[in-house]
Subunit: 332 residues, 2 copies
DNA sequence: GACTGATACGTAACCGATTACATTGGCGAC
DNA sequence: GTCGCCAATGTAATCGGTTACGTATCAGTC
């Protein structure tokens, strides 16, 4: 039952040809007679031969897989991202090798080192690491694409115009008449979090409104709720709130309602990402086409691998304001 | 810049030892002097040497990666499953190689064939394929674990007691006084879908209630809504509804509300899975610990790889009824 | 001092593909 | 008939590791 799988030599012997001919038949080379190819194909079918991927990789220095290094896998954001990547990868005939990278640069380096020799290129998402750290960790000989991190000079980076998104949220709140604004950002050392806040604050200031309240969260639901609790406890008041992602906005909404505040009458709330949950909860948000960011990253990486070019670096996916009940009222 | 990465021979030359010693130092073998190991390690650091994974795989027939073949990647169910697998895999020092498998058995076979030689084992989830098809496609020499599919004699299978889950849902609806029940199942050729329906119907019949309405969906939100629309259009009436997963239940709830029906007063609704969305929408459901199914599958697979044993086959993850507003009333 | 055994290390075969280069055979031109 | 050329095929080197086996060194024993 558990027998040694057939090798290319077994096939050659069975078809009565040399290994070179088998290889040629297999890879669709020109200089081989149709009849020979037929014999080889029959032998392959007979023996249920499947080429050994490791041997092939070693020989031609290609693996047919792309490495994906993500900071986390929790929630719909990552599931959409992976879905988009998988779609594009399988269209190009690549598989995805998945790994999560922790905030600790040493461990992050490990995650990347492990990929060497197993992938033809890597897609890295590491908003929690600085540009220098990422540059230092990326293996030089491996094509790489970055997703949603500070633009790099060396590698293409598919991202989001975070500042514009933050500004869009602020302007929307101002447009519906809110003047005392608040913002819940992500970790201070997260690139996206800082950008979104900066865009938000800038838009508010430019409009001549009061300086907004700022709280620091961690992109999880709980931290949104905690931020609201703290403000209310301190007696800070606000009538418009933007969170740096939808999950924190949802946590914030729950906390607001728990304190008897109505949405949007007392506080209008807007998030960021437009995860599916947002639609169901009537949460206004900034829509990011996450799956497309994933496909885009893969497409660019494959292009790099195929022609050795780096191509244009920074590239931003378009954003879109989606106004729902949490800012406009009406059915939740 | 783009220079050839260092090989083991470069390291050997630099350290003034043979390749065998480098390999021994690298893999923590016994018979090597501390001083030699030190020299090797220094050379490795100097050259920034990283072993070539393909060569290593070829030589010792181990890859350090696990293949994961899933039917789809859409929604929180898969995101949780992958998260659980990734956690366990990285604990054991493995990476995950991801691939989606389509319903077409030929394509499904391809997905598995591509994995050969790149992985030490595979985890397959293919509820849409028959037992025979899966058995025929699974490479014989590769350890495999199945997730959420009909139990197999050859491979461990981590699953859900779907019948029990279906019955739990039915009994809950009956317990709160509902008598005219309905069920929205998944594809007829999906194993889980059939099992859940059977459990549901059996519990209803056993309790002496009228035979329930049955509609066929596809696990997507829309199909839940369509099922409800069809029933209402036909004039079928029901006061208790179970869907085979949460997404269809959510679609059904929207359709019910759109027709002015109140939940749970007019129709009590219960789903299956307990995805995060369910809690936010107050949907009663059968909780499945999805991430744990993922870790469990990986742990079993790793055990199989390590000791060559197959271990116990069928294994069911426990289920739990979670009653919320959609059946009990109260705040949504 | 010759022999034994253990220890540290080197040499070279091997894993299973790809492919540069060598070889063969067939055919047309002379 | 011989030569040259080309297409089809075979031989063997190669990719970068691991490891079986061989060898050198040294301490300990008689």
């Amino acid at each position: 039952m558990k027998q040694r799988p057939a090798t290319i030599r077994d096939v050659a012997r069975r078809a009565g040809v040399s290994v070179a001919s088998v290889s040629r038949a297999l890879n669709g080379h020109e200089n081989i007679r149709e009849e020979t190819r037929g014999r080889v194909m029959r032998a392959i079918a007979d023996l249920q031969y499947v080429p050994n991927a490791a041997a092939r990789s070693l020989s031609n220095a290609k693996t047919g897989t792309l490495g994906v290094v993500l900071p986390d896998l929790y929630g719909e954001f990552f599931s959409e991202l992976i879905r988009g990547m998988d779609k594009a990868a399988s269209d190009h005939g690549y598989l995805l090798l998945l790994s999560t990278m922790h905030a600790d640069p040493a461990l992050a380096g490990q995650a990347l080192a492990v990929m060497r020799g197993r992938v033809d290129g890597v897609i890295v998402m590491a908003p929690q690491l600085s540009r220098e750290t990422i540059d230092a960790l990326m293996p030089a000989e491996l094509p790489g694409v970055e997703v949603i991190s500070e633009a790099s000079a060396d590698r293409p980076s598919i991202g989001i115009d975070n500042r514009a998104g933050g500004a869009m949220g602020a302007r929307h709140l101002l447009n519906i008449g809110r003047r005392r604004l608040a913002h819940i950002m992500g970790h201070e050392n997260n690139f996206d979090a800082r950008q979104r806040r900066d865009g938000f604050v800038e838009a508010v200031t430019k409009a001549g409104a009061a300086e907004p309240l700022i709280a620091i969260g961690d992109f999880r639901e709980d931290s949104g709720a905690r931020a609201v609790e703290n403000w209310l406890k301190r007696g800070d008041s606000f009538d418009g709130l933007m969170a740096a992602n939808d999950m924190m906005a949802i946590g914030a909404m729950e906390a607001l309602r728990a304190h008897g505040l109505r949405i949007p009458e007392d506080v209008a709330v807007i998030g960021f990402d437009d995860i599916p949950l947002a639609r169901h909860l009537g949460l206004s948000t900034i829509r990011v086409h996450v799956a497309e960011i994933g496909s885009d990253a893969v497409n660019r990486l494959v292009a790099m691998i195929k022609n050795g070019q780096i191509g244009p670096t920074a590239h931003n996916q378009p954003l879109e304001l989606v106004a729902r009940a949490s800012t406009l009222g009406g059915p939740a």
